[in-house]
Symmetry: C2
Subunit: 202 residues, 2 copies
């Protein structure tokens, strides 16, 4: 266990906790007080950390996601479970919600169903922008959606590309949860660059 | 204060807490135990909630961001402060970090400086993908970066468009922090759509 901790940078106490919670399978017993861990344990521990620390999932959400992943469910099922934990809780007025639901419906050419966690998230974020008076954001929604489709096409190609040694559903998960932070970082970088020509004091 | 709470859906106890912490300016005293709040208070309270609940900033980070915003600093300064709170803490090995730093450098055509919080974030996420064996993600980095530049161009146009009644720096903040969740939602939606043709069981 000391080596598992050293190799991943995860404190021993945390590794023990993940073992107790069943996020990490038990090692093979090789003595009364010793267990052996394999490279598979290292991989799994790194995945748990990435989902927690970069993906921002809670322990319970990680357990849910790993459960459907291990059950061999398809990528989109795994993504649905991961998205479920990301529904924003901000209460928004019924009027703002109805307005946002209408905008999402227009965008996708069908009435939006906000029992779908992905739709519920979009509706909340849009309704909050509306409540803040930042309606211009929703005016650009069609442009953002078109670019999001292009990014998703790159994601989908990546998921198709993975060799037989990797599970496509795991790649989908990494691509979206870690890819969300990655893409946000790239976008931030590009925006600062675009704004850079302006003087530092407004 | 009851009306302020009713209009925004924020509990009175939370409003009191934000007042004590200085995130919300005091109302005008109109009696020994009564204060008057203006539409500006409603706007500010909504902004604080959005940054907290959708942007995922801590109270201290919200205070920092509002401080530079109120000081009239330029959009890119405000974005830098907001990004600072988002640096991921996952410890990564020196080798993985050096590798990721090299990739970011190649991408931007200059040696990357990971004392910049945006670069530090990118480097950590890339290094974690590398550690997970998901190197294919970094193989698509140039494609993601090109699309991120297009998204940032839409963001920049939005910031340029805002009328005199809105501060460009606030629009930049909303566009990136809330826009990050919005874009992730759109991308998730498009990816599920792209994967939808495949059967539900892998």
């Amino acid at each position: 266990m000391a080596e598992l901790s050293a190799e991943t940078g995860v404190p021993v106490a945390t590794v023990k906790y993940y073992l107790r919670e069943g996020l990490l399978p038990a090692g093979r017993r090789v003595g009364p007080n010793q267990a052996q861990y394999t490279p598979e344990h290292v991989k799994r521990l790194r995945l748990v950390c990435a989902l927690r620390e970069i993906g921002g999932l809670s322990l319970a959400e990680v357990a849910d996601v790993l459960g459907v992943l291990d059950a061999g469910r398809a990528a989109r099922v795994v993504l649905g479970v991961a998205q479920d934990g990301r529904v924003t809780v901000r209460p928004v007025s019924a009027a703002a919600r109805a307005w946002a639901l209408g905008r999402v419906g227009e965008l996708f050419g069908a009435p939006a169903d906000d029992t779908d966690p992905a739709v519920a998230n979009l509706v909340t974020v849009l309704a909050v922008c509306h409540g803040l008076g930042h309606d211009a954001v929703s005016g650009k929604l069609a442009e953002y959606a078109a670019l999001a489709r292009e990014v998703a096409a790159v994601d989908a190609a990546l998921i198709d590309d993975v060799g037989p040694s990797r599970r496509p559903a795991e790649t989908a998960l990494i691509t979206t949860l870690l890819g969300e932070r990655l893409f946000a970082g790239l976008r931030h970088f590009a925006l600062v660059d675009a704004l850079g020509a302006a003087p530092a004091e407004a």
